[in-house]
Amino acid sequence: MDLSLSTRSESSPAGDRTVVVVGGEIDVYTAPKLREQLIDLVSSGQYHLVVDMEGVEFLDSTGLGVLVGGLKRVRAHEGSLRLVCTQERILKIFRITGLTKVFPIHSSVDEAVAATD
């Protein structure tokens, strides 16, 4: 109940991107909802995802695991999963777990949508 999710489409020269805006707490209780959302997107053929984490107040290892799972799914279709995050307390969690090397992390949705590397 403390996780909010919404999605929208954005286009850039790089192609169409699906932006998933996540707010609230991503933890062992709420992470399954995010997982479902990511699975639904990939099932419906959306392989280039931008997850906007700016509204995330709490993130635990279950949430990280769901993001890693999403990355695996889009990569299976040559897709991408980019994160938008500037919050130091959330970035720290990615650093501690070494996941800053796994996810491209951007400081704005525009930057993430336009990214191609």
Partner: protein, 162 residues
């Protein structure tokens, strides 16, 4: 020395309550904001581990969280009713084993033992893992030291305000 005890049903929705209680105790004990953030996350990981173990081994039993604070620091003990663990820290991983039983179709990817361990190790300097008193289950104890109190600073939490 104040001791808060909490018994929670072993389902994921209750892990948040454990975080709330421990954070309240930590703020009262005088830990700073950055430490409280770390503690919130670490306690959540320890409780999620216990809940995972219970779902596999003891779904009806509750997870016990004990918060002890004294002037030297705060200790949070999370006790599960899973299979007994040895004294090695590595055994903490026992709780994180994928118990979704979905045979690797990928649906279990939210259970990430290495991520959880990486977080616990990265956040808490003092983690102790031991057998719970009853001979079954494991107690994971996390400790945070408190800065020495400044004379004239906030009153000790042991004394009621008057």
């Amino acid at each position: 020395m104040a001791v808060v005890e909490l018994l929670l049903p072993s389902s994921p929705e209750h892990v948040r309550t454990a975080r709330l209680v421990v954070v309240a105790a930590a703020r009262r004990a005088g830990l700073g904001d950055a430490t409280v953030d770390e503690l919130r996350l670490a306690v959540g990981e320890a409780c999620a581990r216990a809940v995972g173990l219970h779902r596999a081994h003891a779904p009806e039993q509750r997870v016990a969280i004990t918060v002890t604070d004294d002037p030297t620091g705060l200790a949070v003990a999370v006790t599960d009713a899973g299979p007994p663990a040895g004294p090695a820290v590595d055994d903490v991983a026992g709780g994180f084993v994928d118990d979704s039983g979905d045979g690797g179709d990928g649906a279990g990817d939210e259970v990430a033992p290495d991520l959880s361990l990486a977080l616990l190790a990265g956040l808490v300097d003092d983690v102790e893992v031991g057998s719970a008193d009853q001979g079954t289950g494991t107690t994971v104890t996390l400790r945070w030291p408190l800065p020495p109190r400044v004379p004239g600073g906030p009153p000790s939490t042991a004394a009621a305000p008057q």
